[in-house]
């Protein structure tokens, strides 16, 4: 890829990932949540892979790591749902407008689901780019 895209990527990549994490963490307060946040994180990695090549991107996230992390995080999702159904009141309180630490298990679900989505999308991008 040409110089402009490379340099822009270099500058923007941290911000893209931070923005993704922000969307993840504020999923219960503002529009967004696990899927959009995960997609934004994955699109940052995809941008890296497109502009610098696959090898550079694999230095950030390896393919095998993505595989394993996705599976383990999916199991975490099961655990969160189980925990929610047994001990709903032990989690954070409900109904504080614009308070990050609220809305019970939704925050946890968003984070776990976001990691899962981002890993899955990174895997898809890597596998399709290898062809």
């Amino acid at each position: 890829m040409d110089v402009i895209i490379r340099n822009v990527t270099k500058g923007l990549l941290p911000f893209i990932i931070v923005f993704g994490v922000y969307i993840l963490l504020h999923g219960h307060l503002t529009p967004g949540g696990s899927f959009p946040g995960g997609v934004i994180i994955a699109s940052g990695v995809a941008l890296l892979a497109i502009s610098f090549g696959l090898r550079k991107a694999e230095r950030l996230v390896k393919e095998e790591t993505a595989h394993v992390v996705e599976g383990i995080v999916a199991l975490f999702l099961v655990l969160v749902v189980l925990f929610e159904s047994f001990a709903r009141d032990m989690l954070t309180p409900t109904g504080m407008a614009f308070g990050l630490w609220s809305a019970q298990h939704v925050l946890l679900l968003n984070v776990v689901g976001g990691v899962m989505v981002s890993m899955a999308l990174i895997l898809i991008v890597f596998l399709l780019m290898k062809e």
């Binding site: 529009p31 899927f35 407008a97 999308l121 399709l128």
Partner: protein, 116 residues
Amino acid sequence: MIEVYVGMVLIALTGMYCMVWKKNMIKKVIGLGIFTNSIHLLLIAIGFRTNGIPPILTQVNADYFAMQAVDPLPQALVLTSIVIQLSVTALALGIVTLAYRHLKTLDTERMNRLRG
């Protein structure tokens, strides 16, 4: 409001035309994407309300909110549908790459070993 529905029908017909008549596999997948997005447009248009406010309950009073807020459910449906669409497209592209490896072409006319 009617323009949106007319536009949706036109986009859906474009997508269907692209899926049915184009002979290239990738173009067929693109047609699928266009068709799906037209339906997302329909869903969003169903929930639309002129001069509406975003469906987030903050300091405004509840009556005004119920009068003015757009319907949040179609947006959730569209988000879900986008996720499904993403997985279908990824799978389709994977299958297209494998098909290219076997057939050495992307022409769907050549893909007729199974017939009769």
